[in-house]
């Protein structure tokens, strides 16, 4: 039997520890050793998601629906996989724009709209108040239960006086905590370090407490999981909980609850506060992506065993299944564990209340009250002095107000609803932010009007289908419109709107509110126009990862202001010291020495607005700036003009870039041409030196012979004839050489004279063979000629063809070992001539080289054919000119075959039996 004062003392002691930890956390920052710059603390602080609902309510829901509690944790697990994209983007946007709450985020995205900011704030407050009430309710009944044990029935809440209700004191203490550690300084982008550390600590406590109960029940009271499940299986009403049951809509409900919790984990104000505003380093997200879902698994492992054990152990109509977690250790007489469990539940509840009220108070002060105050005359410049203190006062009052509102709600609704049902109503409320936020960060077309229409219609449908009927059922509102529909219109019944039945109320409400919300958002966005500032904010949000640094985007702003005006404004809102420091820093960035030298340009206004946004929210900052800046309203024409100027500059720079590319290309071409010319020049020099060398060789021998004959007139006739023969031969060689060079030059310049007539290739071959016969004889090479008796005529220059044949035959004679074969064949409408030898052959790389005019000459020395080596290029030139083709086929070591084909002139003449001629 626990004395109430013991319980109260322990609870107070725990809250005292919390204060101490938060204080220590703040002290560490001042000492420069932050505790929250740590991915594990970040992930644990996200576990503020697990509230008293998780701690007590999950077991309650599991005891009645089996796995029905799980989608609330599976959803965030799935969402964590998408954090990599979505949450990272939201964090980046919020850091760039100094966004401090979800209302600020939406307002800022849609043109810094005051209207949207206040609407989001109202939805959040209305939606979250029941959720805070839930926490207070859990604390209150757990305390009462602990105190009244073994009496398991709870006295109705309205019989307990407020001043004797633990819930009330917890509410007050939480308000005090939130005020102390959540509103210590003004700039909310500076993080609440102490608060975050305390929340992370609470996450550890509630997990350990829940695991302790789980282990105690599963292994202390029963013999492990198997034991509990086996015993439960024996009871039909419990065995039913092992499956989804037979409900046709169980899977739909499951799916929609998963989707709902996916949105809740992103858009609950406390999750936004912890995940986005208090984030000090984007990289912490990487750890949280898996560590936070792991936390969810751990805190859920023992839910089903405790629920089933509770059902097995306790029975009776008075028993609240939500309290099984606490009841199990109490019934089994473990008071210490029961006390620890109570603390665990307290930590779950307080964590939620603290963060939620801080987040909501920021919204209320920045997005609801500030715009109102700024629009009244009271706050105009130089009339009111201590604005920062006023702001803090507003926030502190808001915290107290919200907590007390939550308590009031709890007192009024009492026991009407289970913990989970209340929580789900809040989830469905914040889900209304999803279209505006997700649409806002990925779709530039979303407009302010679209966000307003979507939010309003979604919120109205939500209110009509969830909280209103639940209040009716709690006896709070009169009427029977839940069953009958308003004015008896049955298809407007709030739980089966348009006759959609079978879904549970939350799923039903979520579906219809999302239809209204997304539909309204899309339709209104697509129909309505988008103002200039909306457009600018839209691209600022959607393209947040593309912006490199401030001042890069085109500023659509024109107005007049002065530096002292802006400085005064900043001093009034953020305090003199901080304003001066920020401006000095800005001046340094701009490269001027003092604030006085700054220009009152659009960038300075932008900077001031961002600084203010961190303190009073984007929408309020815009209103505040407007008091010192006379902004010229920009007409569409002016905007277009400004955009035109900008795009002209861009176009001009593009042109420059293109020109420089073209220049580069031309330069490269010129360089290549120059290289080629140099190469040609080199080849020409080589050609000339080789030709002259070749010319000198016969000339030298002619001269030598002539000198001998001149000096020795007494030589006998035989010797004389021999020398004269050499002179003749060398002269012939010389003139042939000169002819070839001349021919080549003519061919190259196109001045070659052609005498085209009907030519019989047979006679060409015979003529060439006759004039080369001596070469073969000299080298002792056998020549075989295979020519058909009748060869069709070709249209060609007879002498040139003889020249070609002569070249091929003399080459073959030079290289052949002991035989050469000439074969003439008719192939369709071409005549083909092959000259084969069994010489050393030509390697594949050289097969084309030998036809190149200069290459031949410049090639190595040993294998170089005697003469000019111009024979082959000239021959190919001739054949190609006559419409034919000349090529070589060779395998090194196995001889070579030079072939050419020429088109037949008229198809006549048959190929006679092959005649063979040998020499």
């Amino acid at each position: 039997m626990l004395q109430p004062w013991v319980i109260a003392l322990v609870a107070l002691g725990y809250i005292g520890v919390l204060f101490a930890i938060a204080y220590y956390g703040d002290r560490r920052v001042t000492a420069g050793r932050s505790l929250i710059n740590n991915p594990y603390v970040y992930a644990l602080s996200l576990a503020v998601y697990c509230t008293a609902w998780t701690f007590y309510g999950s077991v309650g829901r599991a005891a009645t629906t089996g796995v029905g509690f799980l989608p609330i944790y599976v959803g965030p697990t799935l969402m964590a996989a998408l954090w990599w994209f979505v949450l990272r983007k939201i964090i980046r946007i919020s850091k760039v724009n100094r966004i401090t709450s979800i209302a600020d985020f939406i307002a800022s995205r849609y043109g810094k709209s005051t209207l949207l900011g206040s609407m989001v704030t109202l939805v959040a407050v209305v939606g979250i108040i029941p959720y805070i009430a839930l926490q207070l309710k859990a604390v209150s009944i757990s305390f009462t239960l602990l105190w009244h044990f073994p009496d398991l029935s709870l006295p109705p809440i309205n019989t307990i006086p407020v001043l004797r209700d633990t819930g009330f004191y917890v509410a007050l203490m939480m308000a005090a905590f939130a005020i102390l550690f959540g509103t210590r300084h003004l700039d909310a982008t500076e993080h609440h370090e102490g608060l975050v550390v305390a929340i992370a600590f609470e996450s550890v406590i509630k997990l350990v407490a829940f695991l302790a109960v789980g282990v105690f029940v599963t292994y202390g009271v029963y013999n492990g999981f198997g034991d509990i499940f086996t015993q439960a299986a024996a009871r039909p009403e419990l065995r039913r909980l092992f499956t989804f049951g037979d409900s046709a809509h169980a899977f739909e409900n499951w799916f929609w609850l998963t989707v709902l919790s996916m949105m809740a984990i992103m858009f609950l104000p406390r999750q936004f506060q912890m995940a986005v505003v208090e984030n000090v380093n984007e990289r912490h997200l990487n750890t949280a992506i898996w560590l936070f879902p792991l936390y969810l698994i751990l805190i859920n492992i023992f839910v089903l065993p405790i629920a089933l054990a509770g059902r097995l152990t306790v029975s009776g109509p008075d028993v609240n299944a939500d309290m099984f977690v606490l009841l199990m250790p109490m019934i089994k007489g473990n008071e210490l564990l029961a006390l620890f469990t109570f603390i665990g539940g307290l930590s779950a509840a307080t964590g939620m209340i603290i963060v939620e009220t801080v987040a909501l108070s920021t919204m209320v002060s920045n997005d609801l009250l500030m715009p109102l105050l700024l629009r009244t005359k009271v706050l105009r410049p130089s009339e009111h002095q201590d604005l920062p203190s006023l702001l803090l006062l507003i926030r502190r009052a808001a915290i107290l107000f919200i907590v007390l509102l939550g308590y009031l709600y709890f007192r009024l609704t009492g026991e009407a609803l289970s913990l989970v049902s209340i929580g789900l109503i809040s989830f469905a409320a914040v889900a209304q932010f999803a279209p505006a936020i997700i649409g806002g960060i990925y779709w530039k077309g979303g407009t302010r009007l679209g966000a307003v229409v979507g939010l309003v219609s979604g919120f109205l449908v939500w209110a009509y289908t969830l909280p209103v009927p639940s209040l009716v059922q709690a006896g709070w509102l009169e009427g029977n419109f839940v069953e009958q529909g308003p004015f008896g219109i049955t298809w407007l019944r709030p739980y089966t709107l348009f006759g959609l039945s079978g879904l549970d109320p939350v799923t039903h409400s979520l579906f219809w509110s999302m239809v209204a919300n997304i539909g309204g958002y899309l339709v209104a966005s697509l129909i309505g126009p988008q103002s200039v500032i909306e457009h600018r904010q839209a691209s600022l949000f959607v393209d947040v990862f593309k912006q490199v640094r401030r001042g890069e985007h085109i500023r659509l702003w024109r107005g007049t202001t002065s530096v002292p005006d802006i400085q005064n404004l900043l001093e009034r809102f953020v305090g003199r010291r901080r304003a001066r420091a920020a401006l000095a820093e800005y001046a340094r960035e701009r490269g001027v020495t003092s604030v006085e030298e700054l220009e009152a340009d659009s960038e300075l206004v932008d900077f001031a607005e961002r600084l203010l946004a961190g303190t009073i929210g984007a929408a309020s900052a815009r209103v505040a700036i407007a008091t010192v800046v006379t902004e010229e309203p920009l007409s569409i024409e002016q905007v277009i003009h400004m955009l035109d100027e900008a795009s002209q500059v861009i176009a001009y720079s593009r042109q420059l870039e293109q020109k420089s590319h073209e220049l580069e290309a031309v330069t490269a071409e010129l360089r290549a041409a120059n290289e080629r010319l140099k190469e040609l020049d080199r080849l020409k020099d080589e050609f000339i030196s080789t030709v002259t060398h070749e010319l000198r060789t016969p000339l030298t021998s002619i001269r030598a012979m002539a000198e001998i004959l001149y000096d020795h007139p007494e030589l006998d006739t035989n010797r004389r004839a021999q020398f004269l023969g050499i002179i003749l031969k060398e002269s012939e060689r010389l003139s042939r050489l000169i002819n070839q060079v001349l021919d080549f030059a003519k061919l190259e310049s196109g001045m070659f004279e052609w005498h085209v007539s009907e030519v019989n290739l047979r006679s060409v071959v015979e003529e060439a063979v006759a004039s080369t016969e001596h070469l073969f004889r000299e080298r002792n090479v056998r020549l075989r000629v295979v020519v058909p008796a009748h060869v069709p005529t070709v249209e060609a220059d007879h002498d040139r063809l003889v020249q070609v044949m002569f070249n091929l035959l003399s080459n073959a004679a030079k290289f052949a070992q002991d035989w050469v074969e000439v074969r003439l064949t008719l192939q369709g409408d071409v005549v083909r001539v092959d000259v084969s030898d069994n010489g050393p052959g030509i390697s594949p790389e050289e097969q084309e080289l030998i036809f190149e005019k200069f290459r031949q000459l410049s090639r190595g020395t040993r294998n170089r054919p005697q003469g000019t080596g111009l024979g082959l290029p000239i021959s190919r030139h001739i054949v190609e000119h006559l419409g034919g083709r000349l090529w070589v086929e060779s395998t090194p070591g196995a001889g070579a075959t030079f072939s050419f084909i020429l088109p037949v002139m008229v198809s006549e003449g048959a190929i006679a039996p092959v005649g063979v001629q040998s020499s």
Binding site: A81, A233, W254
Partner: protein, 64 residues
């Protein structure tokens, strides 16, 4: 940057896989009245898939 993209794509794929595993119709396959290793089939399926899913996320994100 390249690694950043790869991790993102893997997580997105895992997300779609998770939507499949934790929804109808796969859930209806394990919605049976039976036990496996002393644990109801549905419970076992959900928790094992859950642990596997989180494990995969950890591997994808933390792998260097």
């Amino acid at each position: 940057m390249n690694k950043h993209h790869v991790v993102g794509q893997r997580l997105a794929a895992l997300f779609f896989f998770g939507m499949l595993v934790f929804n109808y119709p796969l859930l209806s396959l394990v919605n049976v009245d039976g036990m496996v290793g002393g644990v109801p089939v549905l419970y076992a399926y959900l928790f094992v898939s859950w642990v596997a899913f989180v494990g995969l996320m950890a591997v994808i994100v933390e792998r260097k």
